[in-house]
């Protein structure tokens, strides 16, 4: 049966628990001062599950949700060593876009944007998706050339993207310094109207709520300590809360994906780098689009509360440390002022870091592995959050049917041995 655009099958199961969120419900709770029921239930851990998903972020929870909603597989456990959304899902800069470079990449991320557009209605949870447009600046002829290439690939795949000139950029973002006297003059930009920002925590909570309502068990503070593999087949998972027997394990971790894969004996072409981000004090709304500059290693958007959220490229060396560095914030401040000199009095509230699993070709690694029953949804580098829904949908189909869906066929682990890389560095190295 054909899945509809929102990921549900017509007439499929709908979430009944917890109570439906609505304007009427809000009014009723306001008048009666009743406690809101918890968004998801907690369960004692069972000894066995049909499938275990490691990683309680947007990818793991989306996979659990679509397993239950699209395929009726509800005997599923999602494990997280911290709290739900404590990893990359709560640390990214919440930017969504689909203006990638390869046709495979564009199709894949465009499906994710389409799922995100319907997500609030699907999950009955306000995820605050704002399609305000995404602007990638070109400061050199080389980057302008890559942008024309991206725009043409996007158009062929029916994704709204175009190259615009400095005057148009100035019209969209009046505070931007587009004068030819700038240290890195703006020669043009890739304008991508469907891009935007979203409330990333709400996406995690919405999927957790939806999955829990369909019967999925969510186990927080449960660290995986080992994976049992015998005869090339997954038999179970050992955790800090006890052992679980299962024939299917999905590695949906970011940052620690090689540590989990090593437990199953699967080598991953991944290196872990921190990526730092920062947020300023709130100011009046003045920035209506997402602005990215690859040359200056910065991207900026303004939240609904008025804070400016900045991100950068990954740190210059591998690490599992999530400490911020002075070098980062110093470099970021310089680059931001290069773009928007008017921000020179704005204060930074805080900075943080998340872990990025970088692959050699800047594309993820999804699908089956040489170990039967051990699947991966990893290698998400700096672009994992925007792919959460489509990756979850595709991995759920992969688990349920045993076949690799067409939309992720290019992203298998075997592409490295075959030399069939999906080079997305030109579209994913900094700008997202």
């Amino acid at each position: 049966m054909q899945a509809s655009a929102n990921g549900h099958r017509p007439g499929g199961r709908r979430a009944r628990y917890p109570a439906k969120y609505s304007a009427f419900g809000l009014l009723r709770h306001g008048l009666t001062h009743q406690e809101w029921p918890p968004a998801w239930r907690s369960h004692p851990m069972k000894r066995s599950y049909d499938a275990v998903i490691i990683g309680g972020g947007v990818h793991g929870l989306a996979a659990a949700y679509y397993l239950a909603a699209n395929h009726g597989i509800t005997d599923v456990a999602v494990l997280d060593k911290g709290y739900l959304g404590s990893g990359g899902s709560g640390r990214n800069t919440a930017i969504l876009r689909s203006n990638y470079l390869t046709p495979e990449g564009v199709r894949f991320y465009d499906r994710s944007i389409k799922l995100y557009q319907r997500l609030a209605a699907d999950l009955d949870f306000n995820v605050m998706f704002s399609q305000r447009g995404h602007l990638t600046l070109a400061h050199s002829d080389a980057s302008l050339r890559t942008m024309r290439w991206r725009a043409e690939v996007n158009k062929i795949e029916r994704v709204d993207s175009d190259v615009i000139g400095p005057a148009e950029v100035k019209r969209l973002v009046p505070f931007l310094d587009v004068s030819p006297a700038a240290r890195y003059p703006v020669l043009g930009a890739l304008w991508h109207p469907p891009g935007g920002i979203i409330r990333h925590d709400a996406v995690v909570w919405g999927y957790a709520r939806g999955a829990s309502a369909l019967g999925v068990h969510l186990h927080q503070n449960t660290e995986v300590t080992g994976i049992d593999v015998t005869g090339g087949q997954v038999r179970g998972v050992r955790t800090s809360q006890g052992d679980i027997a299962t024939p299917v394990v999905l590695n949906a971790t970011a940052g620690w994906c090689t540590l989990i894969s090593d437990m199953a004996g699967v080598a991953m072409p991944v290196q872990t780098f921190p990526l730092q981000a920062a947020v300023t004090e709130p100011v009046k709304p003045f920035l209506s689009t997402v602005v990215v500059s690859g040359t200056l290693h910065v991207y900026v958007s303004q939240t609904d509360r008025g804070e400016l959220v900045f991100g950068a490229s990954v740190d210059p060396f591998t690490s599992y440390s999530m400490r911020g560095s002075l070098e980062f914030i110093e470099g970021l401040a310089g680059h931001v002022l290069e773009l928007m000199p008017a921000l020179n009095k704005v204060r930074v509230l805080r900075q943080w870091a998340g872990l990025c699993d970088m692959t050699p070709d800047f594309s993820p690694i999804m699908g089956r592995t040489p170990v039967e029953g051990f699947l991966t949804d990893v290698g998400w580098g700096t672009y994992g959050f925007k792919a959460g829904p489509v990756a979850g949908e595709a991995m759920a189909e992969c688990i349920a049917t045993g076949r690799t869906p067409e939309i992720i066929a290019a992203f298998g682990l075997d592409r490295f041995a075959a030399g069939a890389l999906v080079g997305e560095k030109g579209a994913a190295a900094v700008g997202h």
Binding site: T258, P269, T318, S319, Y320, S321
Partner: protein, 103 residues
């Protein structure tokens, strides 16, 4: 600030260096199988703990050297030479100082 013990310049701010990556053994391209070569190109141990790696003193003496670094705490200690000697990839192998890398 992280201080890296350059084998020639002594302890310097890590911002002066370029991280080359994990010290790996380059197979002989004339005899390596395709699988060995691709493993050399793409696969890394990526441990959460101590790892031996190569750094390049880009803004200093412009030479390569090795240290061991803890990837979670970013502590640095001298490379155990026996474990990593001769493992710098590619053409830079001849420049590896060996025992002096203990800095």
């Amino acid at each position: 600030m992280i201080l890296l013990p350059c084998a020639w310049c002594g302890p310097r701010d890590a911002a002066e260096f370029q991280h080359v990556g994990e010290a790996v053994t380059r197979p002989d391209p004339r005899t390596a199988t395709q699988a060995q070569w691709r493993a050399y190109l793409y696969l890394r141990a990526n441990p959460c703990g101590w790892t031996a790696e190569t750094w390049y003193h880009r803004m200093g003496c412009r030479r390569f050297f090795k240290v061991e670094r803890h990837t979670e705490t970013n502590e640095i200690r001298p490379a155990r030479v026996a474990a990593v000697a001769g493992q710098v990839p590619g053409a830079v192998a001849g420049q590896v100082p060996g025992a002096e890398a203990a800095g």
